[in-house]
Amino acid sequence: MQQPNKLTPFFENINFERDDNTMVINFGPQHPSAHGQLRLILELDGEKVVKATPDIGYLHRGVEKMAENMMYNEFLPTTDRLDYIASTANNYAYAAAVEKLIGVEVPRRAQVIRTMLLELNRIISHLFFVATHALDVGAMSVFLYAFREREYAMDLMEDYCGARLTHSSIRIGGVPLDLPKDWISNLISFCDKVEYELEHTYNALLQENRIWKMRLEDVGVLSADEALSWGCSGIMLRGSGVKYDIRKEEPYELYGELDFDIPVSDRCDSYGRYRLYMEEMKQSIRIIRQLIPMYKDTTPELMANAPEYISAPKEQIMTQNYSLMQHFVLVTQGMRPPKGEVYVPTESPKGELGFYIKSEGEPYAYRLKVRAPSFYHTGLLQEILVGTYIADVVTIIGSTNIVFGEVDR
């Protein structure tokens, strides 16, 4: 037995050396494949993982505490910092929860723009997944190509809202800006480009690649029951053969009117999940293509008309005295939603992103809980990693697509 003191600290692996025991290794928190600040304590028997303990909290910023001390509109930019790969999805999930609480109707043009941005963000996030997942597994060139396309998508986002990563481009009650000139034509060209590249670059590089298939097939196998029990959502769930997409089942924004398919894989492994990501990007492009003609049929209103909660348009504020007064109260005191609670689930690129808001009729939320998909996917690691080999650990973490901004919050 070791007697640790200040000079001779406890050595985790001495038992291993002496008694032919399991070896304990620390994976992270500073590991290039840990997708952020994940620390995994792995117990190895040879090369086999016998126990995995995820340790999180290295990026904890107290977002939920901050939400309790910020007005509803003030908090919106903070949601960007949850899943920073797809911040519009977070903005939307939060805005949707508040809108449901106060019960406002969003104008159609704002809905079209929101859906476009959400799908563009899904492409950004999925491209990022393909890039980093391939890099983790060892395919360097995919990373370079995918980041090139992601850059174009981020240029589009920048053209729309001025930010590349933390957009805050969706507001409670609508969107702040109309689409700039030429944006639609740029978007069409971008869709053409991504569609072409998906087929001719990524699929050509990965889909039938022998090494890629060897590294991914039958790795990280997750049954449907386990996936449901562990709270998996999004592609983790559909990769296990459960056809559940919130966009389809509980449609929000314009998803009810759009024609798109939900790809499902019953392979239950990392390769199936990778195929789903690729297929979802194609579906996102399909959705964007349908939204473009819809945009042309809309009237130019962008923000909901609910003077009690949402400021009037700029022109009205500058000409109508009462609108100016209401705007002043909404900016200094903030909106006061009715008493009650709401939980709104949305399909973010990572899975089910939901905001639970408990309001006591004050301008500050009494409690705000972020239901982050990655948090539950991190919890899953303690089960899914057991029995796999150490070489597959990185593949499995990569294929869960966790982002630590929303795991730790």
């Binding site: 971008f190 072409y196 939901g354 539950y376």
Partner: protein, 258 residues
């Protein structure tokens, strides 16, 4: 006289509230006969103390001691196979109680139920990890954030805060900027207690502006190199030019590749 600030709830308050204003309520509808939610309430029987539909989701109040029975019944008989969220709300200042909610999902008909219960301060709740494995992390987070003990949890340990942390951050008594313990935590940890006098407590207020601090809080437009004395010579701000890719132009290139 100094303004009275309640210590049991240090959440930020609005600076002005109209005396005659009463907050409206989110509508609570009774459960419609013959709907799926009515079947759920009937299946729960006595377990459901109160049930109503709020914004399209069923809310069921149960007894906190019967949470396992209620949730396993919902899973096995009503098809609520996923517990998508679980957490608590602090009502210690008003009622001396925590409100715990379980958000459940039925994937076959896309309906959601929120099961709620209340426990007194100092009481523990039974773990539901045997029913839903997703509760493993969620209950740990609830313990970490509120200090609610969960009985029979396989690994009830702090999850987001450091293990040697004192206090539970999401309690209403916990200040946003952190308490006394938080202000010394990193000083003690990195340098040691004996350096407290030299370093001073940590200020976690992100909006704090130290007017004498010219290094970390830069004088916009009058920046100087690190360590140099501040001057009045302006440094012009340069913005980087961002040019968009002209997709229309490069599409000919794309056509060529095709």
């Amino acid at each position: 006289m100094r303004k009275y600030t309640p210590k049991d709830n240090v959440q930020k308050k609005s600076y002005h509230t109209d005396r005659f204003w009463t907050a409206p309520r989110v509508p609570q509808e009774s459960v419609e006969e013959g709907s799926h939610f009515a079947d759920v309430v009937n299946a729960m029987g006595d377990l459901a103390k109160e049930a109503f539909v709020s914004l399209g989701q069923l809310v069921v109040w149960i007894d906190a001691t019967k949470n396992k029975e209620a949730l396993s019944l919902l899973r096995d008989e009503c098809g609520y196979v996923q517990c998508s969220e679980l957490s608590a709300v602090d009502y210690l200042a008003q009622d001396g109680e925590f409100e715990i909610f379980y958000q459940l999902l039925n994937i076959s008909n896309a309906s959601r139920v929120r099961v709620k219960c209340r426990i007194k301060e100092g009481e523990a709740i039974e773990s539901i990890t045997t029913i839903f494995k997703s509760a493993n992390f969620a209950e740990r987070e609830m313990f970490d954030m509120f200090g609610i003990y969960v009985n029979n949890h396989p690994y009830l340990k702090r999850i987001l805060m450091p293990e040697d942390w004192q206090g539970h951050p999401l309690l209403k008594t916990y200040p946003l900027q952190g308490d006394e313990f938080a202000s010394w935590y990193e000083v003690d940890k990195i340098f040691g207690k004996e350096y407290r006098d030299i370093i001073g407590p940590e200020n976690r207020d992100p909006s704090r502006i130290d007017k004498d601090d010219t290094k970390r809080f830069s004088r916009v437009g009058y920046e100087v190199p690190f360590g140099a004395e501040p001057t009045d010579t302006p440094t012009p701000i340069e913005y980087s030019e961002t040019t968009l890719v002209d997709y229309n132009k490069s599409s000919t290139q794309l056509d060529e590749r095709r």
